[in-house]
């Protein structure tokens, strides 16, 4: 009985300290943010039904391929990486999978006004325009044209891409992950000029920030780092989960091994503890 009381005291002080130093302290240092919004509710809705074949035409005429490649349709990137980076600060990503990985509302909005959709309008304005120009339409109904482009990009997108591919399409123009050998094609100096800072290598971010943080951060970087240059990329929920899975693979690829071994070791220790208890009772019976 007395030992239980003592144990209670020890547990109380330990847990109290733990809660203070971890749970409470971190809640003060990293205030909670609203959950991720995969509807992108802040962007204007475009209810037009797009038509893929018209979209193909609009796409070709809108000048997109002046900067972006469309490998799956046999359209290579118009510039090599070095030249593209020198002209834009960042290499415009290939759009073959854009229809799959980016949310459709977001796509329409980002084509119309990239800085706004990416939540970078604090950084880009008329005197310092975003490297990707606003789309002002080809003379018809601009919302219809946007819907058509989106429909086109969706029609050519594959049904499924690998986790790595999502990362390559959405993040690699800025971030490297050296632990999987995926180096961004960026030149750090140009990148720093364009972004204000060199985007960090994401190899260990699953451990340094954790999956929860990544989920809200990628969905809307401004929530955690107000005023940051990192754009909102507009991934769908599924695509974003794939990116996070890839970042986890890069920085915590032994997770499954850890968890399955953990169960076995714990099982072993519990059995050993029971045996130790029985042995103790046997030995102490003689002296009590």
């Amino acid at each position: 009985m007395r030992e239980l009381k003592i144990l209670g005291v020890v547990v109380f002080f330990t847990v109290f300290t733990y809660i203070g130093v971890n749970t409470y302290a971190y809640s003060v240092m990293k205030p909670a943010v609203a959950p991720a919004d995969f509807q992108f509710k802040d962007l204007p809705r475009n209810d037009k039904i797009g038509d893929a074949s018209r979209g193909a035409e609009v796409f070709m005429n809108a000048g997109c391929i002046g900067c972006h490649g469309l490998e799956s349709q046999g359209i290579p990137a118009p510039m090599n990486d070095a030249d593209a980076a020198a002209s834009f600060g960042v290499v415009p990503p290939d759009l073959s999978n854009a229809g799959l990985i980016f949310d459709s509302h977001f796509l329409a909005a980002v084509i119309k006004n990239p800085a706004k959709a990416m939540l970078n309008d604090h950084k880009f304005n008329e005197s310092n325009p975003h490297p990707m120009p606003n789309f002002y339409g080809l003379g018809g109904d601009i919302d219809q044209e946007l819907a058509d482009i989106v429909a086109y990009l969706q029609s050519i997108a594959p049904e499924k891409v690998s986790d790595e591919q999502v990362y390559v399409d959405a993040c690699m123009q800025c971030h490297s992950i050296k632990y999987t050998g995926l180096m961004s094609n960026k030149d750090p100096i140009l990148m720093a000029k364009y972004m204000g800072s060199v985007p960090p290598d994401l190899s260990m971010f699953i451990r340094s920030r954790g999956a929860d943080y990544l989920e809200t951060f990628i969905n809307n970087p401004q929530k955690h780092l107000a005023g940051t240059a990192m754009p909102r990329v507009g991934l769908t929920q599924a695509a974003q989960e794939q990116v996070v899975a890839y970042i986890e693979y890069a920085g915590d690829r032994k997770k499954d091994e850890r968890e399955s071994l953990g169960i076995k070791v714990l099982g072993f220790m519990i059995i050993l503890t029971i045996l130790a208890y029985l042995w103790k009772v046997k030995i102490w019976r003689e002296v009590h």
Partner: protein, 414 residues
């Protein structure tokens, strides 16, 4: 020369040469421990187990770790954590065992304070224990720098900077410790040497002294009873095991310790596999970057209380700068526990619940330590500063009034 005869077995062969039977008696089967103890008396053995885990996991880490500012981070986070088979396991064990070791040290230490096991002949046990605490702290601090993460770098920067407060030679001392004007590659390499060689060596040495210092005054017990160990041992050996107030270290005492160790290890391994963030915090998975100061800089949890005593004094008093007052208080906090036996003016060895004033003193101290620990982590602003200040003042006052309080207790008992 001793009489060496033909041995009748391996045991005998060794016994003739090394007196192993005698040794086993002295160290194990006739090393007497009071019977009236609780599981808190097992913390010493738990600590030995934690230390062994640290040594073993440390040896494995040492095989792949690279003490170079350019390579350290990747050698830990890529090579060890992801490439080497079970490298992650050794790292998790090493990090979690460090935290556990400190938790157990604190329990062990406050057990000793509660039961008055630091005085009346047990001073050397206490002092060697406190030296171990200081050595463990230094080892943990130098170890935390090795992965060369953001917090490794900045905690090292801040803590080494403290030595600048030493009058006259401060700046020179800081440079001497760092091996450079700022924390840099040379700091990393020398901390590496300290962490894997010099400090562990010293720890092993002091552990031997610590154990030896127990032999003469013996282990204390729950009631502080003065036991005649020879008489009780004779009773035990004569077969009156139930009446005797003592038990042998092996197997009786260790049987209980072994059980306590197992329970601790269940919790320990749960933390190693599933609940490790408290000793492998996220900030340190970001590579060290001297150009970017983290928003919050804090040491590992086990240093927070003394760190808060340092920060607690946030205002200047007359001509004395806040920083200097803090440093004096910090120095006070770090040595005051060592001289505890001499602050206690009550000659009796009794548990706190039998010493009315000391009892209050003890629990106020416990709460103060916890409050200091928590506020040592919180950002120093607004009300946090005030609470930190009050807690620091309480801490210091407690030790200043200790001689008075204990003397009154002693008088009251007469």
């Amino acid at each position: 020369m001793a009489q060496i005869k033909k041995a009748n077995g391996i045991g005998d062969w060794f016994d003739q040469r090394l007196a192993t039977k005698k040794l086993a008696k002295v160290m194990m089967t006739e090393y007497w421990i009071p019977k009236d103890i609780n599981f808190l008396w097992a913390m010493g053995v738990v600590l030995v187990v934690m230390f062994k885990l640290l040594i073993i996991s440390g040896i494995f880490l040492l095989m792949y770790y690279k003490p170079d500012a350019k390579l350290a981070f990747d050698s830990v986070n890529f090579t060890i954590m992801q490439e080497v088979e079970y490298g992650w396991l050794w790292r998790h064990i090493h990090a979690v065992a460090a935290s556990f070791a400190f938790l157990v040290i604190y329990i062990h230490m406050f057990t000793a304070i509660y039961y008055g096991s630091y005085k009346n002949g047990r001073e050397m046990i206490w002092i060697s224990g406190m030296i171990l605490f200081i050595l463990f702290s230094t080892t943990a601090f130098t170890g935390y720098v090795l992965p060369w993460g953001q917090m490794s770098f900045w905690a090292a920067q801040v803590i080494t900077n403290l030595f600048g407060g030493i009058p006259v030679v401060g700046d020179a001392v800081v440079t001497w410790i760092r091996g450079d004007f700022a924390v840099s590659d040379s700091t990393l390499t020398r901390f590496f040497m300290l962490h894997v060689f010099l400090l562990p060596l010293m720890i092993v040495f002091v552990i031997v002294i610590h154990f030896y210092s127990l032999r003469i005054p013996h282990v204390n017990n729950q009631e502080g009873a003065d036991i005649d160990f020879d008489a009780e041992a004779d009773k035990y050996l004569a077969g009156n095991k139930k009446e005797s107030k003592v038990v042998p270290f092996w197997p009786v005492f260790l049987a209980k310790d072994f059980y306590v160790v197992c329970v601790t290890l269940v919790i320990f391994f749960f933390c190693v596999f599933f609940f490790y963030d408290f000793s492998l915090p996220g900030v340190n998975f970001e590579p060290a970057n001297p150009m970017v100061t983290p928003k919050y800089i804090y040491p590992e949890w086990y240093f927070l209380w003394s760190y808060e005593v340092l920060r607690g004094f946030f205002f200047d008093i007359g001509p004395i700068k806040a920083m200097d007052i803090g440093l004096i208080a910090f120095a006070f906090a770090n040595v005051i526990f060592v001289i505890l036996p001499f602050l206690d003016r009550d000659p009796r060895v009794l548990p706190a619940h039998k010493r009315p004033r000391f009892k209050i003193w003890f629990w106020v101290l416990m709460f103060t330590m916890v409050i200091l620990t928590i506020y040592g982590k919180l950002p120093p602003k607004g009300i946090n500063n005030v609470i930190g200040f009050i807690a620091s003042m309480t801490f210091i006052t407690l030790f200043l009034i200790m001689p008075y309080i204990t003397k009154k207790d002693a008088k009251g008992a007469k």
